[in-house]
Amino acid sequence: MTALLTVDGVSKRFRGLVAVDNVSFEVPEGAIFAVIGPNGAGKTTLFNAIAGEFKPDGGSIVFAGEKIDGLSPDRICRRGVGRTFQIVKPFPGLSVEDNVMVGALLHRRTPRDAREWVHQVLERLDLHDKRHQLASALTLPDRKRLEVARAIATEPKLLLLDEVMAGLRPTETDRMVEVFRRLNKEHGVTILLIEHVMRAVMALASHILVLHHGAAIAEGAPEEVVRDQAVIDSYLGAEALI
């Protein structure tokens, strides 16, 4: 399998703090790749560097064979990278449908052309019944789903998910896991996710990268990574092994 995303020696410093320290990994095309680690490990910073929120201080990021580090977020999205925000950012004054419509218009010229695709995406995320509600009126789980729906609507090749399971109940988590699995299997979308909910990570990921204090401390198949002593010590704790 060829790598869709290659992160090579990426670093990011905020004044004295090294948030991401020389991190390298490859996300193969069609994979579901998880980045885990304790709070403050640099996961979201790494994400924001990939999504173009800021330019990394060092290293390079290559997506689909082209260097994307330093490009603006909208350019990166147009290349085929969709993202969600950890702190959800719906368009509060717009209806659920119109929120998704904004994403769908990336590759469709008129709302009329995009309408059917919007409805498909809404159905896939179980938001179809709520499509006329204002985004500001949604509950948190629904907002998370809307965040995902909007990103999917742009038809990304790579989907970056920043803690979309946080705050969901186990049954909702399972539903979300199912959505991503189908997206990955049936539509061939490669997924890179940051997640604390190990239930979701273990169910989804084909590959895990563990960050700690900005550095990668382990990488590999899920079964191996969760048994790695350094990972258990720094993040999972012993009870994760039961």
Partner: protein, 334 residues
């Protein structure tokens, strides 16, 4: 086409719209010149409010200096007419680019250097003030003494040179209001309209969905400036005189934004309802005060202030969303 026009409007709403349109078309047959002038001012502010709304209501960029586009367009067309006898219909082809160019300069400076929110609003005021003072000293176009167009005789009806009575100006501004309404409606239902709303709601999220926010904010400013320009040309030929102290004054900019704020920012009917309410009530108040022998200059402004306060407290979204829901004029989606 017709179906598209009434999409989302209930039967009651359509009927009301038809009645209002019929009344508007027939109005000059029934009212005197004074009332007609009130209607003209009302439609003028409905028009400018609609144009301003593109920038603020759709794209979320607060302009407090729209007088600059009115003034530049007015001077451009007026100078071409006075000096070269060029018809305003040709003059407007120069006036619109002048206003758009001015918008481009303001927009580029602001968005390139990430001037946003309140600071953007201050920048727009600064430009309008700069134009006001500049034109005060621009002696080639009359400076502070003003620029005068040859006054038309009332009997004349010369549509090509816009020389004629108030009826002509009434129908002209009515057509302009309808046209700008339709344009705004089309914009609102287009890709650019959705992108503007996204930028208004959350710029960072908009960028993450692939929207080049600089480009779409620029488009909003250019469209809004270009739409405002015909109002300036209208004003020049309707009033027949231009004074920098009036046309570029901040009170002009403020009066432009009052109608959409009171009627409902970001809505299509808001600017029209807001303008009607403001001007009609203000004129009634003035006539009423005069009848009891009180003639206070500035009573209109005080009234505007009070009305604005009441609306902001009672219906902060503006009157139109409230009226539309109350009387079921548009479809409420479940």
């Amino acid at each position: 086409m017709i179906k598209w026009l009434f999409d989302g409007v209930t039967i009651g709403g359509q009927a009301l719209l038809a009645v209002i349109l019929a009344l508007a078309l027939a109005a000059p047959l029934f009212v005197d010149d004074y009332l007609l002038s009130v209607f003209i001012v009302t439609l003028y502010f409905a028009y400018t409010g609609q144009a301003w709304n593109v920038m603020m209501g759709f794209a979320g960029q607060l302009s407090l200096g729209h007088a600059i586009y009115v003034g530049l367009a007015a001077y451009t067309a007026a100078v071409l007419f006075v000096e070269l006898r060029i018809s305003p219909w040709i003059g407007i082809l120069a006036a619109i680019p002048v206003a758009v160019l001015c918008g481009a300069i303001i927009g580029f400076l602001a968005f390139r250097f990430r001037v946003a929110g309140v600071y953007f609003a201050i920048l727009t005021i600064a430009f309008a003030e700069f134009a006001r003072i500049g034109f005060d000293h621009f002696s080639a176009v009359g400076g502070s003494a003003g620029l005068f167009l040859p006054v038309a005789s009332y009997a004349k009806f010369d549509l090509w040179n816009l020389r004629g009575g108030p009826e002509m100006f009434y129908y002209l501004i009515l057509v302009m209001v309808i046209a700008v309404f339709l344009i705004c409606r089309a914009l609102m239902h287009s890709r650019v309209g959705y992108y503007w709303l996204a930028i208004r709601e959350d710029e960072q999220a908009a960028r993450a969905l692939g929207i080049d926010t600089f480009r779409y904010k620029m488009i909003a400013v250019l469209v809004s400036a270009g739409m405002t320009a015909p109002a300036g040309v209208f004003l020049a030929f309707y009033h027949n005189n231009l004074f920098p102290e009036q046309i570029f004054h901040i009170s002009q900019s403020i009066e432009i934004i009052l109608a959409p704020i009171i009627g409902g920012i970001g809505t299509l009917f808001g600017p029209i309802i807001g303008a009607a309410l403001l001007q009609w009530l203000a004129e009634s108040l003035r006539v009423g005060l005069e009848a009891v022998g009180i003639d206070v200059p500035g009573s209109k402004q005080v009234f505007f202030g009070v009305l604005l306060l009441l609306v902001v407290i009672a219906v902060p979204e503006g009157l139109w969303p409230w009226i539309a829901a109350k009387f079921r004029l548009t479809e409420r989606k479940p």
